[in-house]
Subunit: 158 residues, 2 copies
Amino acid sequence: MQRPLSPSDRRILRILQSDGRITNSALAEKVGLAASPCLRRLKALEEDGVIEGYRAMVNRKVLGFGVEAFVFIKLEQSEPGWRTRLVERLKGYEEVIACHALAGEIDLLVHAVARDIESFGEFTMNRLLTLPGVADVRSSFVLSNIKPMAPIPVPDHS
Amino acid sequence: MQRPLSPSDRRILRILQSDGRITNSALAEKVGLAASPCLRRLKALEEDGVIEGYRAMVNRKVLGFGVEAFVFIKLEQSEPGWRTRLVERLKGYEEVIACHALAGEIDLLVHAVARDIESFGEFTMNRLLTLPGVADVRSSFVLSNIKPMAPIPVPDHS
DNA sequence: AGTGAAATGACCATAAT
DNA sequence: ATTATGGTCATTTCACT
């Protein structure tokens, strides 16, 4: 189902996770490959879905989002259809920068940004609590990003 | 303290958050600029720290990490020094792909990956619970990534 | 290895302040 | 005048075959 990763592939993945915009030729040099085979490997990794995309990390505060928070949501037990629609609505909110379904006490973990505390309040009150199927909503503001979005470790073998 | 963002800057940020490896010339075309001024703006955004970096998004399962989890940590009240050292240790763990300090019930929210449930257990037992200053550790496995790492919205004005 | 495309820097034009 | 914007062109470097 998945071609095994060569040592070069692994080096490529390590480098690209910390510098996603490096040129292929600079990448090739770091990896210890000629440009041409390096590019072929990179394309293959993209093609195979090992690399799912590239993203610029933007400073949220510069964009006017002074508040970052996590919202812990418990759902009511209800027909499956409700849950699907709830999740679709949630995904549609642009304040939601990530959302995970969890096992255990909390059903949904929502990572959100907002301009300020007031607009975050508006968001939770008007857009989260009003979703049908939501039993409980608790929010915690992020005080500091201790470790922001670190790379996934790339072991020498899978 | 921060140069205001031009409409072109905002378009650049929107595009680069969903395609961080787009060539400058393709970016320029989408933005509606010539390549040269587009590149100048891009460099300035990096220089000013508006863009904090670029990252390839890698499929964790391909790398052998079948398990993704959030760990909710409560700390004991203790001297500030302990907390700093605890946080440093936490940052050093490569299983930890993100970590936030939160206000409220939970003090630290840790986002982690592991090869399987057993090795996640080893991680929580031997590396988290043993940290001095930790009062309580609770873990929830991620069942699904409902909305994985969406862009931060870029308003037309800040 | 070669060729077409992209990146990059020097320099100019225009408009708003 | 100064600042901020964008454009053109020439050169080097890169991507890709």
